[in-house]
């Protein structure tokens, strides 16, 4: 798997300081994610799963160790380099959607493309493709406040995939949705992985969501405790 890995996490430590106290969030973590894989990250609160996700997505840098994504060593990039890298390589799906309330669905999806050298026509084509993919081509001019939670999350997914990123990361994407909407979103994410061969890393507490993943990692106190297919044993790990 290492040879095909699109994400490689090597001996990663992450600690924070609170006064004189050092809090170790990740302790020498090693991980590989293959291209096109759908990976679920599970674990109790404070286990370090969101921190790991942030490190892989280039939102934070490790205290020690290295992270490689798509052949690029993101752990050594500056903040500006990371921002530019994220535009092209990372699609982020948030728990609370985080759409800009003053923009329409179309404009929210278009936002990442404004950072890329594209013509208006090219942007329009990609936005329309993304919105059609998530089934919202009839809600282009709706603002987030005029959409349901499920629809907002679908706009969030469209925004995450519109740049055709190397990796999609999702932090509790169904955490704020009712069961039906959650199912729709998970179905959509599964489609992204199957049909578009997207690599997805998803943090979740929800065993139903985790079942959609091909592989589940359990973290506890900053360490990997289980790594395997989403069997009942893995999903029910305390």
């Amino acid at each position: 798997m290492a040879a095909e890995a699109i994400v490689r996490v090597s001996e990663v430590h992450k600690f924070f300081r609170r006064g004189s106290e050092q809090i170790d969030v990740l302790n020498g973590l090693n991980l590989g994610v293959a291209t096109g894989e759908f990976l679920g990250l599970m674990g109790p609160s404070g286990s370090g799963k969101t921190t790991l996700l942030n490190l892989i997505a280039g939102l934070d840098t490790p205290s020690q160790g290295d992270i490689w994504v798509g052949g690029e060593r993101v752990s050594r990039m500056t903040e500006g380099q990371l921002a530019r890298w994220r535009t092209r390589h990372i699609g982020f799906i948030f728990q609370f959607y985080h759409l800009l309330p003053v923009l329409t669905a179309y404009e929210n999806v278009e936002l990442p493309l404004l950072l890329l050298p594209m013509t208006a026509a090219q942007r329009k084509q990609q936005v329309m493709t993304a919105l059609e993919l998530v089934g919202l081509s009839d809600r282009l001019k709706h603002r987030p406040g005029q959409l349901s939670g499920g629809q907002q999350q679908r706009v969030g997914i469209a925004r995450a995939i519109v740049t055709d990123p190397t990796l999609i990361v999702a932090d509790e994407p169904t955490g704020d949705l009712d069961a039906r909407s959650a199912e729709e979103i998970l179905h959509l994410m599964a489609l992204l992985q199957k049909d578009l061969k997207k690599t997805i890393i998803m943090v979740t507490h929800d065993p139903r969501a985790a079942k959609r993943a091909q592989r589940i990692l359990h973290l506890e106190k900053g360490k990997l405790v289980t790594d395997g297919a989403p069997s009942d044993a893995v999903l029910s790990h305390p």
């Binding site: 997505a57 921002a83 994220r86 003053v102 923009l103 990442p112 932090d171």
Partner: protein, 450 residues
């Protein structure tokens, strides 16, 4: 502060040199086109900024209104300061100098001084003569001696009619027909608009002034013209020869006795020289001449002469420049700082999302500064435009009596002053909140959200 009238000077230059008009217009259109193109290139960012500003219309509106009002006040005060600074600053060329009585205010010199002073007291070969000159006498009185009021009181500058346009500032737009009439009609008078209004008179009307400055010399006048709106709205000019002739005729009706003002009717003499060296030379000629001993005279540059007149206002002007204007600018900056700080604090998550999407810290900084730029720049420009329209076009200047400046006009440069005041204060006020937005830690923001 001279640079604050760059646009006004440029427009005057174009007016005097119309041959440069077409290439200048073409050049300006080119620059405008480039700006429009650049603006369009970034139109999505402008749109994003505008959208952000519409998030809380009340707050944006109130901030813009505050900047608008303060920019108006700053522009008004700045206009006064710039105008006074301009008149008190020496010109490198076309030096103007003023000769007055040395030891007395108001200056009262014999009219006999005038011819030689106007020649710069040049008497020997090699002496320098001024390029141009004029003399001023002051004549004042009332139209109704029975019931003297402010409205029917009138003071004239009595001068050589042909020197009005070349020697007096800001009268390039005076209708030359009026000057011609004044030269041809000894009883002619040119009055400012406000003065005419106060007297309830118009061009062609006649009236008699019962003198207060020259007792017994009551003169009849015919209004032959009016000054263009602005600086001379309250002024009145008469033909100097009319007063001289009346003074000369006085003894014939008064048993040969000279009028008491006969030897002290000349208020001042202006002359123009090419540069400061020429000024020094002519001043030396006058000061060393034996013609002007009783009373003695002094020679000053026009700007230092005006500065002497403005001496009593020194503290007021200092306060305007160094207390009021900075206080207003700081207030503007604080208002914008407050609004932008609140906005950034409310939108920390949104800023973090933008960072996740790929906005670099620099772009985030640019977005926040851009919002401030839009609010400040637009409000400042709008306030200046409203001010220029209302005061320059509508009123022909705003009344604010300082020394002999009854009114101050708003220059076309106020348009960029307003924009500049609004923009700079807004950017200054938003630097701290913009920097705080720039340094938002995404992981920390989302940790708190979760």
């Amino acid at each position: 502060m001279q640079y604050f009238l760059t646009l006004e000077r440029f427009l005057r230059f174009l007016k005097q040199n119309p041959q440069y008009g077409p290439p200048m217009i073409a050049g300006s259109a080119g620059v405008l086109l480039v700006l429009v193109f650049v603006g369009y290139w970034f139109h999505k960012y402008w749109y994003l900024l505008l959208k952000s500003l519409t998030r809380n219309l009340l707050r944006t509106g109130l901030s813009a209104l505050a900047v608008f009002v303060l920019a108006i006040v700053v522009t008004l005060v700045w206009t006064i300061l710039v105008v006074l600074d301009v008149v008190m600053t020496e010109k490198a060329k076309d030096f103007k100098a003023i000769v007055t009585e040395r030891w007395q205010v108001p200056s009262r010199m014999p009219i006999a001084y005038a011819p030689s002073l106007k020649e710069g007291a040049a008497s020997k070969p090699g002496d320098l003569k001024p390029d141009d000159n004029m003399s001023w006498q002051f004549y004042g009185g009332t139209l109704d001696p029975e019931k003297r009021t402010w409205e029917n009181t009138l003071f004239f500058f009595a001068m050589e009619a042909d020197k009005i346009i070349p020697m007096m500032d800001d009268l390039e737009n005076l209708n030359p027909v009026y000057v011609k009439r004044l030269m041809e009609n000894k009883q002619g008078a040119i009055l400012g608009r406000e003065r005419l209004k106060r007297l309830n008179k118009g061009i062609g009307d006649r009236f008699t002034v019962v003198s207060m400055s020259h007792k017994g010399i009551d003169l009849e006048f015919e209004i032959v013209g009016e000054f263009p709106a602005g600086r001379y709205d309250s002024s009145a000019v008469m033909n100097g020869n009319y007063l001289v002739d009346a003074m000369d005729a006085y003894p014939t009706t008064h048993n040969g006795a000279k009028h008491p003002m006969a030897d002290k009717s000349l208020g001042l003499v202006w002359f123009k020289v090419p540069d400061s060296d020429a000024f020094s030379k002519v001043a030396e000629q006058i000061m060393s001449s034996s013609l002007y001993t009783s009373p003695a005279v002094k020679v000053e540059t026009a700007s230092s002469g005006i500065a002497s007149f403005l001496e009593p206002y020194k503290d007021l002007l200092w306060g305007l420049k160094w207390l009021l204007v900075p206080a207003l600018l700081v207030t503007m900056a604080l208002i914008v700082a407050n609004a932008i700080s609140i906005s950034v604090r409310e939108r920390r998550t949104e800023m973090a999302v933008l960072k996740v999407i790929g906005f670099t810290p620099g772009r985030i900084l640019g977005l926040v500064l851009g919002e401030a730029f839009l609010v400040g720049g637009a409000s400042g420009l709008l306030s200046a435009a409203v001010l220029y329209g209302a005061i320059h076009v509508g009123m022909g200047g705003f009344p604010f009596q300082i020394a002999f400046f009854p009114k101050f006009d708003i220059y076309v440069d106020s348009l960029w002053w307003g924009f500049l005041f609004g923009t700079i204060t807004s950017l200054a006020g938003s630097i701290v909140p913009a920097w705080s937005a720039r340094t938002i830690k995404v992981s920390e923001v989302f940790a708190k959200v979760a």
